[in-house]
């Protein structure tokens, strides 16, 4: 059990808007954590900061004690909520790419998952349906043996069968020494998969508790409690 993700007084401003206003957070290995909040609450900003796609305005953020850089990128897996793979590449080309750049990439596992979905080796991404492409992105990301996984809205805009597949893949990929952070506003669907919930409201953390505690203390599901907390 170690702290794999830590923020201290993390602030991010864009001009006059403050996307994150002093975030303090510690997340441990072996957990699946939900980063929950409405759109614009700062979830994606926090994830981008963790992956060095943004620089903090002030405060610190560390992954396993290190500031984001090439060292942390080798042990962090990020699944953004957009199509981020070059669409002219083929499946096996992508496997080669990931294997080349990420020492922790488990190619066999990825191949097995792709095979079970009947995705051919030489199919070009561009020719795949949106759903298949998203699954490929998920498979590549989850086949990394990373310390921290960031999944940004992995089930938004996805049909129920695919949603099940995605959640099963996340659960099945669980490792004791890694941390999975799922950012979403669709709480009902992921609640049973999470260990902890972090509520993010207007750039600040308003709650960080285990799912069981929330359910016991409020007698409600986290989804219901969330709606209460974030009532407009």
């Amino acid at each position: 059990m170690s702290v794999l993700f830590e923020c201290k007084d993390l602030v991010k401003s864009y001009g006059s808007t403050q996307a994150l206003r002093g975030v303090n957070l510690q997340l441990q290995s072996g957990r699946i954590v939900g980063l929950l909040g409405p759109n614009g609450s700062g979830k994606t900003t926090l994830i981008k900061l963790a992956n060095r796609l943004l620089q903090p305005t002030s405060g610190t953020l560390t992954i396993d004690g290190e500031a984001p850089g090439t060292g942390t990128k080798a042990v962090t897996a990020y699944l953004p909520d957009k199509d981020f793979l070059p669409d002219w590449m083929r499946t096996d080309g992508l496997l080669n790419f990931y294997q080349d750049f990420f020492p922790d990439f488990d190619r066999e596992r990825a191949q097995t998952m792709l095979d079970s979905l009947d995705i051919p080796k030489n199919m070009i991404l561009k020719k795949m349906s949106k759903g298949t492409r998203e699954k490929v992105q998920l498979i590549l990301t989850m086949s990394r043996r990373a310390k921290v996984y960031f999944l940004d809205e992995p089930i938004a805009g996805v049909d129920p069968a695919a949603r099940d597949y995605i959640l099963r893949t996340i659960i099945g990929n669980y490792q004791e020494d890694s941390l999975v952070i799922i950012s979403t506003h669709l709480i009902a669907d992921v609640e049973s998969v999470l260990d902890e919930a972090v509520f993010l409201k207007q750039g600040q953390i308003v709650l960080h508790q285990s799912i069981d505690e929330i359910r016991e203390e409020t007698g409600k599901s986290v989804d219901e409690y969330f709606r209460e907390v974030f009532k407009c």
Binding site: L53, Q55, A74, Y78, F84, L85, P86, F101, F102
Partner: protein, 265 residues
Amino acid sequence: MLGKLLKYEIRAMGRIMLPLYLVMIFAAGLFAVNMRLGLSGTAKTVVEKFALITGFLFFAAILAVMVVMTLMVVQRFYRNLLGTEGYLMFTLPVTTLQHIVCKALTSLLWIVIGIGAGVLSGFLMVGILSNIPEFMEELQEAWRMFFSTDGLAVRIVLFAVLVIVGIVESVCKVYAAMAAGHQFSGHRILASVGAYIVFGIVELILGTVFSADNKVFGGLVGSVGRAVGNIPNGSMLVFILVALIGVIVYGGLSWYLLDRRLNLE
């Protein structure tokens, strides 16, 4: 890691540029064959008709190569680093500097190959249109001249270096303009074009400041110029130096903006 990046980048650019270069060489050959047939007088009217087409195709191929090359340099940077692919590239365990160096070197490589393809086309055409023995003799003569004439080899090599550094500078200038334009979300393309123009203006201003006519620096520039004139190939070296400064400035600007001011959509 840089080596791996280069491998992918070279392949990404090559899959478009290589076929195009081959088409250009082929079109050159076709055109030359056509012209040769015309000269030898066989089936004049048919040959003349084709001459128009093959000639057009050849020049179209050259134009296509130049346009596509420029577009490719822009697109590889814009799409792969500033577009959604940036989410992949910037999460690789690779430094920003490695990304820029990789893109610049690959652009340089394919442009140089393009120039080579152009030269090859030229040789091909001359070869087809002239007699082979004569052609080989002339080549050998040129080769001998290259080594015997005083300082010619050095001058040509320096010129090649200038061309190479110049290409890298131009490419970095385009990258810097795109990186700068990227800062203005919503009007990125317009801002990039604007940045490029601003760079040009700044270069012009610096040019007038550092010229011998300048009221303030003129004297200094003049004496430096005279000193340079005394060194063999001095002016060429100065041009190379200026281009190198350009590479450092534009490359550095690109690096800073991508490393510290990245903001992917």
